[in-house]
Point group: C2
Chain length 461, copies 2
């Protein structure tokens, strides 16, 4: 018999076995989706986390309750072990919410719906009253200079760009005003800053979020106002540029609190030393229950284990559910996790984060060290015809804030990418509650993550 | 010079011009999306339609108001002409909403949240009180027979299949109970039917929708109960199979009302006789404002003209916005439109319908006469790399109820396919209001339709 005959037989057998494999993988993925949609408790966990525990800002008493609760859930799922990694956090604490008033005359004031930004100092409830100068970006401050800014309240009013289809890109293009506005404006003698809330929606809901002071620069209060309030203030300034605005609030920062990364580890049967991380961050802002940000990511990550257990699927690689401490106000948990992984010489082959809301999943974006990235990306891309029926695709891009410190240790990093349209309707607001989460959309996110992890587990990276 | 040289030149020129064309198309589509996201009034129109006018069941006074309003909007957009096509409809009218009670004892009753199904007769407010037999499908009736059914209330309790990712498939697999339940059960002597609401969500919201009587079969009342009420009734029947249920309601049908398809026609500059239809249905159920079903489809269709006008784009083919009469309760408008198109010898090259909610668009499904369908589908598929960046794909499948009567006249039919997870949270309920619609998601649907129509207009079908 000729060599050709054997080659042909080999190709036929290979094709047959590849097709059979694909069919079997498709069957498993279907089962993952069905299990997620009909048997997962993710929505129940999320209800407890966001409504019974509630807002859980790093360092707060609630943040400890959330740690205890999720560790208990992980234990109940039958992971091999659960453990904690200690992180030191500062508890920034909203003692009295901000009040901002526009003075139409000395005796007539209009209140602007507002919220203090994370880490901001307070006014000790005393009113700071000053003229306002509106700007649309950090770079305008230098042009205006101290003459125009000193003694005034700087009002950052550049909206998120509504033209961008992906609302995260619009957020990325506007959020520097919130994060660095106070520090930059203080350099020119501003007495406080007001920041337009980070949302495409025109409503009267204020959005908090982190703001950062810098060493050697005067700390001034930093407050967000709703988009409707921002429009009103801006319009008023056109006709009455000398209008006075008063603002007050009261906050404190309690240093050196303890928080923990909560980790559930399920040992792989064949490659126990090769670790796949799936996670979200356990902390949330204090205004609501952090249902989308990032309670959803936490419960979806726990649901990956739940789904596999219900299916009696035993992973070959070690799966670690990691619920990271303090993403919102310092990224301490993600950094600590990466540091310990390095010190312990652990081998992470992949990490997946869900931190973009519990909405219908549309895909994953992948990131990694440039050295082998293209080859790894190509390999993973080839699997995605199996996820196409579920509307889940793969693209290159960022992954997640908590897992990105792992990047230089070589794993392929993935971010779950849900539909982004509604995220910034709720993000960091008093509305980020369980009612804003659709149970099926949440479960589909768990299913997408479990499916990707199943494929990584089957074929390695 | 050789023939090869010319061939090579030709290929280079062709490639260059194709790439330039693709770039130019991509630029136009980007502009369509930006215009939709920042300049469209679709959300304002929808607010008026769903909240100021409100529910607009065929034949009702509100249905006439909706016709006048949308024709006025179409005229204001600068179409060449707007006109109406008369349709005769019956106005089924909910005079008094249903009340359904479970009698735990003669004096202790528990109310089950309910709503009368469309077209059902009423009880003239008198209570029908009977035992209940629970079934999970029409086919169970024959097995049970008259002995088990006569004199009883038949309770159809097969849920939508939560395992199915696309909720429209789950709806399609359960809705026969609502549509044909009363007629089938009456054949075996049932006195009324209760139907589990058509939704995957477990809540206390009742879902109405059409039910159909058949000639020669006794008409019995047909009432939907919420999924929570259905679970409660089912559980109660396990322990107390002989429990009595009482139901009452009052409805009337006013025959021979006038409704109209509302049509805005914008003549094409090069192929005025080749028509592209874009539409939705103007009628809605009466319990709420029909914001998703199908106010969204109507305003998105009008927005296609609005967007092109704002971009100064003059279509080569004639675009017709068609707001169809009475989809919900008889499909009269769609049938009338197709009939007149045939009588007038019109040439429809494509029709696009949006009737799956104003959620984030994920694609289109395409349908058509089998003769040239594959070739046409292939041609259109090739354009969709231009829509990939917007998460919009093409698949084969159904199009829309109102445009499908056009099918045998040869046009390619498209249905807009938004994300389906939330649709049946609101469908035919008191909750289908403007608050359930996200403005950006709505506008993205308009943009997807305008983009597809732009490509059809450029390249024909």
């Amino acid at each position: 018999m000729s060599k050709n005959f054997f080659s042909t037989c080999f190709i036929i057998l290979l094709t047959f076995s590849l097709n059979a494999q694909t069919e079997s993988d498709a069957f498993t993925i279907k089962k993952i989706y069905e299990t997620a949609l009909t048997e997962s408790n993710a929505y129940v966990w999320l209800t407890h986390l966001s409504e019974n525990i509630g807002g859980r800002l790093a360092g707060s008493p609630n943040s400890s309750k959330a740690e205890d609760y999720t560790q208990r859930i992980l234990d109940s799922l039958g992971v091999n072990s659960s453990f904690r990694q200690e992180c030191t956090t500062n508890w920034w604490h909203r003692k009295k919410e901000s009040e901002v008033n526009m003075y139409l005359s000395p005796n007539v004031k209009v209140q602007l719906t507002s919220t203090s930004l994370g880490n901001t100092i307070g006014t000790n409830n005393k009113e700071i009253k000053a003229n306002v100068i509106e700007v649309h970006g950090l770079n305008e401050l230098k042009k205006l200079g101290e003459d125009e800014i000193a003694g005034k309240i700087v009002f950052f009013n550049r909206p998120m760009d509504a033209k961008l289809v992906n609302s995260f890109n619009a957020y990325g293009g506007a959020v520097d005003q919130r994060v660095f506005g106070a520090a930059r404006a203080a350099e020119f003698g501003a007495v406080a800053v007001l920041v337009r809330s980070m949302t495409n929606k025109l409503d009267d809901v204020p959005h908090t979020g982190t703001s950062i002071y810098e060493d050697g620069i005067n700390k001034i209060p930093s407050i967000a106002i709703s988009t409707m309030a921002a429009n009103l203030l801006s319009e008023t300034l056109v006709s009455s540029p000398d209008i006075m605005v008063g603002l007050s609030n009261d906050n404190e920062t309690v240093p050196n609190q303890k928080n923990y990364n909560i980790i559930g580890e399920w040992k792989g049967s064949e490659f126990p030393d090769q670790i796949i991380v799936v996670g979200g961050h356990l902390d949330s802002w204090d205004l609501a229950g952090g249902a989308h940000d990032d309670g959803a990511g936490c419960v979806q990550s726990m649901a990956v284990v739940e789904i596999f257990k219900k299916m009696n699927y035993q992973p070959k690689h070690t799966i670690r559910v990691v619920l990271f401490a303090n993403e919102e106000n310092g990224l301490v948990g993600g950094q600590e996790y990466a540091k310990l992984a390095k010190e312990n010489g652990e081998n992470h082959i992949a990490a997946i984060e869900s931190d973009a809301g519990g909405f219908s999943p549309r895909g994953f974006s992948a990131d990694g060290l440039s050295s082998f990235f293209d080859a790894k990306f190509k390999k993973v891309s080839d699997w995605f015809n199996l996820l196409e029926p579920y509307g889940v695709s793969l693209s290159k891009g960022g992954s997640g804030a908590d897992i990105s410190p792992l990047k230089d240790q070589g794993p392929l990093l993935f971010g779950l990418r849900p539909d982004s349209q509604r995220y910034f309707d709720y993000h960091h607001t008093p509305d980020d509650h369980i009612e804003a989460v659709n149970k099926r959309e949440l479960n589909l996110g768990s299913a997408a993550m479990a499916s990707l992890i199943f494929l990584i587990d089957q074929y390695g990276i």
